[in-house]
Symmetry: C2
Subunit: 270 residues, 2 copies
């Protein structure tokens, strides 16, 4: 049975760092993992591939649906992780969110899921704006579980709360639930307790933490994951633990988002 | 003649800090200023009003277009600045960008611009995603000039570059142009030279700088602008200079956005 999950969060919060390293760690344990970047920035798989890859929407625009072949958009990266980037519309036109669904439908048509038979499917989705477009992966059940990456910055918590409003709206249909929050210690203020308190008020938990680490940018400059660049490092071990925590996680929640007033109060304390 | 400009930038970059203080400074010099928040977060005018105000979209949903009156959505704040918040759709549905245009059209229908007769109209727009939705203010000529707030964080520069791609697409119709970049020194790395170099490669200039200042969060906790909380402070003087620089600015550009590769190279140097 394929396990499918989405990772949401504000731009720059650490989604791709989490996704690419957890994917590499799951693949190391023998799982067949497929990663689809759904951020118009299209750099989710850069460290897995060592370069940027052509996106589904770029190839779709260039060759049309009839001309596209699976090998134009699907690539094998580090540890055999299968890499795909949805891409985005040209800035200024089209709907970034709808682009994600077009890309997912195209992969379906090309038979990607039958052919690749992944055990785990991970979607990395931008969470700055939870509009109808970017909520499509939630609405259409692209993934059963959602994990949200957050720091204790007010903007990150605000974005995480909005994502929970989106999840709550669609969890009624039984399609999607919140698996947990991933705490990233990379912000100026490093207070995991704030995010743990926030998670419990939402009705969920912090499933794991990524500490601030200078190995992350150093591996990124070499376009490698941490697992490739420094496999014996402490931070590589933390990504292996995070991968295991995600696989073992049985907690599912339909979150209870905070009101604007509650958020304002919380931010004053930070 | 009414002067209209948009301020774009990534979430949390300092747009509302800039807009609310520059609006207060322009009003201090006798200009009649109207500010419209176009960020679904709807907190652009919080420090001008001392509280959150009802949004156009919330009132539209509650009363319908026939039941709405101008005084339901337009409020007078500090120094007489006229405050409006567009609001956003419920998270997960609808188009955040289209909500902005619905709100602007509703104000038009209610005769806001004739009745209020602002000298200056400022729109504060979220720039994390430059999709068809959030680019509508550019496409429909809501404002002639765009200013972009940026720090030297790679994500902020990436967002600014995307906004420039949107401006370039619509500047061909002669509707909109880039007035300049506003540098905000609030990031961990405070290197104005990086943003000045970026601005000149785009074909524009840095019109002014907001230094990191602890008076900004302190005034914010009291729900006041800096001009109200500390009118004689150095930072209040800087906002007065920024307001003057915007009014005197004659430079207009159709920007030349950087390619992904150029951005990657630039970020490696940061
Ligand atoms: N825990 C961390 N320690 C150090 N740097 C980090 C950490 N998490 C993320 N980063 C850095 O932050 C930047 C943004 O991370 P990324 O994963 O690309 O964010 P997103 O995918 O959410 O936009 C990257 O340059 C990455 O190197
Ligand atoms: N120059 C600065 N110095 C100190 N704090 C700042 C500065 N600029 C912005 N901030 C703080 O950063 C936060 C985000 O700013 P805001 O103007 O709300 O961003 P945006 O409107 O772009 O989302 C606010 O809490 C504000 O107090
Ligand atoms: S639905 Fe969202 S992503 Fe799509 S155009 Fe609207 S704001 Fe943009
Ligand atoms: Mg990413
Ligand atoms: Mg704002």
């Amino acid at each position: 049975l394929m396990r499918k999950f989405c990772v949401y969060g504000k731009g720059g919060i650490g989604k791709s760092t989490f996704v690419s390293n957890v994917a590499a760690a799951l693949a190391e344990e023998g799982q067949r993992v497929m990663v689809m970047g759904c951020d118009p920035k299209a750099d989710t798989t850069r460290n897995l591939m060592g370069r940027r890859i052509p996106t589904v929407l770029d190839v779709f625009r260039a060759k049309g649906p009839e001309g596209m072949r699976l090998e134009d958009v699907i690539f094998q990266g580090f540890n055999g992780v299968i890499c795909v980037e949805a891409g985005g519309p040209e800035p200024g036109v089209g709907c970034a969110g709808r682009g994600v669904m077009t890309a997912a439908e195209m992969l379906d048509r090309l038979g990607a899921y039958e052919e690749m038979k992944p055990d785990v499917m991970i979607y990395d989705v931008l969470g700055d704006v939870v509009c109808g477009g970017f909520a499509m992966p939630l609405k259409n059940g692209l993934a059963e579980d959602v994990y949200i990456v957050s720091t204790c910055d007010p903007m990150a918590i605000y974005a995480a709360n909005n994502i929970c409003k989106g999840i709550k709206r669609f969890s009624r249909r039984g399609k999607v639930s919140l698996g947990g929050i991933i705490y990233n210690g990379r912000s100026v203020v490093d207070e995991p307790g704030i995010v743990e308190d926030f998670a419990s008020r939402l009705g969920t938990h912090v499933i794991g933490r990524m500490p601030m680490s200078d190995i992350i940018p150093r591996s990124e400059i070499r376009r490698q994951t941490v697992l490739q660049y420094a496999p014996k490092s402490e931070i590589a071990g933390i990504f292996r633990e995070l991968a295991r925590a995600i696989c073992m996680n049985e907690e599912r929640a339909s979150p209870t988002p905070l009101s604007d007033e509650e958020l304002d109060l919380m931010n004053q304390e930070i």
